[in-house]
């Protein structure tokens, strides 16, 4: 006991007539005995549970506030800039970074990404030309199917005739519950149509159509996992995606060879194209390498990486398609 006790100077049961016009406080002296034991425990290095609770509450409130702030910022961004490409900070701040390097585990909420659910099926409509099947999107579709309940439908627009049967079945067999559209979280409607450039329509009211396979792939990938929160990495992913679509698919053999060399050196440094994680860059480059028929002539690192990609099992549909 570090201090001695002193007897109270005056009696505890002193009766005083207190005026009623003021608020009352508990008697400080009456609880002296109890407070003493608390002081005692505090001095033993224990934390007051009340303080603990308070701290926990504060933390919780702060966390909620941060989340709210992020959500509001996200909303503000979607309102001011309908271009979905700028939303990456929102999704990354809201969801923890995916820890594993090969599976896409970022928890993404469709409500935050695609806007509030109004009761209609959130249907992503993709218009693609049967002359250029969008392989990347087929891969992303199969990944989306693993994550969400996706209603996939394939239509043929009246502007094209004679679509090969493999294109009609490219989204897999019909879902058993496809008669009830309300049971699905996401719609994936692929329309084979005579379009010069691949086109995606989502919300007709609030969003203009997204053109180009690369851009649509970015949009779809964000439904699966956030972009890297590091802007430099995010830019790198974007850059690889563009390289894949512009240089691997559309350019001359010389440029393709240059891209393969660049891929080779990048894959020499890390297992995947961008950082330690499997990303959209890998999906896009894989599909474009396969589509341009460069797989057999690829350098060693690229070969190893192609194998690694295939081992993930996401690309079964591409392999099947190219056969």
């Amino acid at each position: 006991m570090p201090m001695y006790q002193v007897k109270p100077v005056c009696g505890g049961e002193m009766q005083i007539d207190l005026p009623t016009c003021m608020y009352k406080l508990p008697n400080v002296h009456a609880q002296q005995g109890n407070s003493c034991t608390i002081e005692h425990s505090l001095q033993n290095g224990e934390v007051d549970p009340a303080v603990k609770a308070l701290e926990a509450r504060q933390d919780e409130i702060m966390k909620k506030l941060y989340e709210l702030k992020a959500a509001v910022e996200g909303l503000a961004k979607t309102v001011t800039t309908p271009d979905a490409d700028l939303d990456l900070t929102v999704s990354s701040s809201l969801s923890p970074k995916s820890s594993s390097s090969t599976t896409l585990t970022g928890t993404t909420d469709l409500d935050t990404l695609l806007g509030k659910d109004l009761g209609a099926l959130r249907d992503i409509v993709i218009n693609a030309n049967p002359a250029q099947p969008p392989l990347t999107l087929l891969v992303l579709h199969s990944l989306l199917c693993q994550r969400y309940r996706v209603l996939s439908t394939v239509h043929v627009h009246s502007s094209v005739t004679n679509v090969p049967p493999q294109l009609l079945s490219c989204l897999g067999p019909r879902h058993a519950d496809s008669y009830a559209r309300q049971m699905f979280q996401l719609g994936f409607t692929l329309i084979w149509k005579d379009v010069p450039k691949l086109q995606m329509k989502f919300s007709v009211q609030n969003m203009c159509p997204i053109e180009g396979e690369a851009n649509v792939a970015r949009f779809l990938f964000k439904l699966l996992a956030p972009y890297p929160s590091d802007p430099a990495l995010a830019t790198l992913v974007d850059s690889w995606v563009d390289t894949a679509f512009f240089q691997l698919v559309e350019c001359s053999a010389k440029e393709r060879a240059a891209v393969l060399r660049a891929l080779n050196s990048a894959l020499g440094r890390s297992p995947w194209l961008v950082g330690p994680e499997f990303s959209l860059a890998d999906i896009a480059c894989y599909c474009c390498v396969m589509q341009s028929g460069l797989a057999s002539s690829a350098p060693t690192n690229v070969q190893r990486w192609l194998k690694a990609c295939e081992n993930l099992g996401h690309f079964a549909c591409v392999v099947q398609f190219l056969q």
Partner: protein
């Protein structure tokens, strides 16, 4: 004054009068003489011309064809006049579309249905001056027989359907003469809407066209519309027949109103009265109960609705489908939408000329569709409309403007003019509609839309007498009146569904026209019972 004097004055007056009269008479006589002289001159001229008209047996008004003789003459169709026929002498029967005399020659445009060809009568060793004059005086729309030489032309004739050849007429005979005054000009009737006003040219309004339907139907536009309509019917029959459907005929005079009693025509039937069928619904369903499995029928349907809109008729042709299904009524939807898609494909592939012809007068975007057909659910449609700022209850029926708006929204996103809206609220559908198994507020019913307008309404029907009775009571329908209908389900009925399409509406919307009267040959509406 003496008597004589009076007489003298009178005589003088008389004389004056007679002088005037004389003058008048003289003048008249002169006139008459001149007239006579003219006539004589004309007659003389005629005589003289007749005398020296070497080609007088090469033209004329031929005697009315009373089947006096059976000529063994082959007539060539205008559409077959191609460069292959060049330098052949052919016979042809056609209408005079236009004629234009120019000095010693006369250009005629001869028309056969939607095809026309330029023909020429020129003074030469085959045709005389009189023959040219005669040809120039043939009234428009008269039917003529011509013998002519097919000739290739240097420059394409842009105004005719046969652009590479023209006819050099050697003989021309009028078979049936048209009255010189036509109630409407064909060129005016096919002029595109806005164009006439700009150039100060005449256009013909809808009622004039319909009053003189026979002439209006001769226009290229009308020809194309009704050829396409026949195509729709043909494709409908062919597609369903290959799908194993049976065509049935149902009575049009019925004893009780099939769908509610409000909009039904009453006709006297001997000592009692009867009704004109509003739809073959009941009979289609009875055929299903009689194990026909899949049936369709094409026939007139009557609606006594006093609505004067662009899409309502009191009599129209209904294309009705009813079929038994195995487990889910979407089998029915799939069958119907596939039929529609086959029709659209058939029209797209085989009726392109007709579509282009109609488009010349009534320009519209080509009809777009998806295969398989897009199916949306009613709740989705409501959500889409909400998003677009429309206020409506979840269980309200779609109003016409909302239907249109929804059509535009769907077109914007999916780029299709044809889609199915599924799962309508039970409250807005007829009593025989099967309720949804999961949500009693909705039903297994669907509408199909073309260019944002409803063309088909259908549903899974209740095939259980007990449930049907309950639903009828809920709708406060007199059970006595529908007893026969309910009784037909008492002896075992397969689950079935179907729907009915309006032929005229399908044609109108496929072609992007704005009035259903244009696609009805002799339309019947609350204000028109003739022709």
């Amino acid at each position: 004054m003496t008597k004589d004097e009076v007489q003298g004055v009178m005589e003088e007056e008389q004389q004056a009068q007679s002088k005037k009269a004389l003058k008048k008479q003289q003048k008249e006589a002169e006139k008459a003489a001149k007239k006579a002289e003219k006539q004589a001159k004309l007659a003389a001229e005629q005589q003289s011309t007749e005398e020296d008209d070497f080609a007088k047996d090469r033209y004329g008004v031929s005697a009315m064809v009373q089947s006096q003789q059976k000529l063994d003459r082959t007539l060539v169709r205008v559409q077959d006049l191609t460069p292959e026929k060049v330098d052949q002498l052919i016979w042809l029967r056609a209408r005079v579309h236009t004629s234009r005399a120019k000095g010693k020659q006369c250009f005629l445009v001869l028309r056969q249905q939607q095809f026309n060809v330029q023909a020429l009568v020129a003074v030469g060793d085959r045709a005389s001056k009189q023959m040219v004059k005669f040809a120039a005086n043939i009234t428009k729309e008269s039917i003529v027989d011509v013998e002519a030489l097919v000739r290739k032309v240097e420059q394409k004739i842009e105004s005719c359907s046969q652009q590479d050849v023209e006819l050099h007429i050697e003989r021309i005979f009028v078979i049936s003469q048209a009255e010189p005054r036509l109630p409407l000009q064909l060129e005016d009737a096919v002029r595109p809407d806005g164009e006439g006003e700009e150039e100060g040219r005449a256009t013909v309004n809808q009622d004039t066209k319909l009053d003189n339907r026979v002439i209006d139907l001769r226009t290229t536009t009308s020809q194309a519309i009704f050829r396409l309509q026949s195509g729709v019917c043909q494709l409908f029959r062919d597609t369903l027949t290959t799908k194993g459907f049976v065509e049935i005929q149902t009575p049009k005079i019925i004893s009780a109103a099939s769908e509610g009693g409000a909009n039904v025509f009453t006709v006297s039937y001997f000592k009692t009265s009867a009704y004109l069928a509003q739809s073959p619904q009941l009979y289609k369903q009875m055929c299903i109960c009689a194990d026909f499995d899949k049936v369709f029928c094409v026939g007139p349907v009557f609606r006594a609705e006093d609505s004067n809109t662009h899409r309502h008729l009191t009599e129209f042709v209904g294309l009705d489908i009813e079929m038994a299904f195995n487990y889910h009524y979407h089998e029915v939807i799939d069958s119907i939408t596939d039929t529609m898609v086959q029709i659209f494909k058939g029209l797209r592939d085989n009726f392109q000329t007709e579509i282009q012809t109609v488009n010349k007068q009534f320009p519209s975007e080509p009809f777009k569709f998806l295969e398989p057909t897009l199916r949306l659910e009613f709740t989705e449609a409501v959500a889409m409309l909400h998003e677009a700022g429309v206020e409506m209850g979840d269980e309200d029926d779609l109003s016409t403007p909302n239907e249109k708006l929804l059509g535009r929204l769907v077109k914007e996103k999916y780029d299709t003019d044809f889609y199915v809206l599924d799962k309508y609220p039970l409250a807005v559908r007829p009593f025989y509609t099967m309720p949804d198994p999961n949500n009693p507020k909705y039903s297994n019913s669907y509408d199909m839309f073309m260019r944002g307008e409803e063309i088909l309404s259908g549903a899974q029907r209740i095939h259980d007498a007990q449930l049907l009775t309950e639903r009828a009571i809920h709708h406060q329908i007199d059970l006595e009146k529908i007893k026969a209908y309910i009784d037909s389900f008492r002896f075992g009925a397969p689950p079935h569904g179907g729907g009915g399409i309006g032929l005229e509406r399908v044609c109108m919307l496929y072609l992007g026209l704005h009035n259903v009267r244009q696609t009805s040959m002799f339309p019947r509406d609350p204000k028109r019972l003739t022709p």
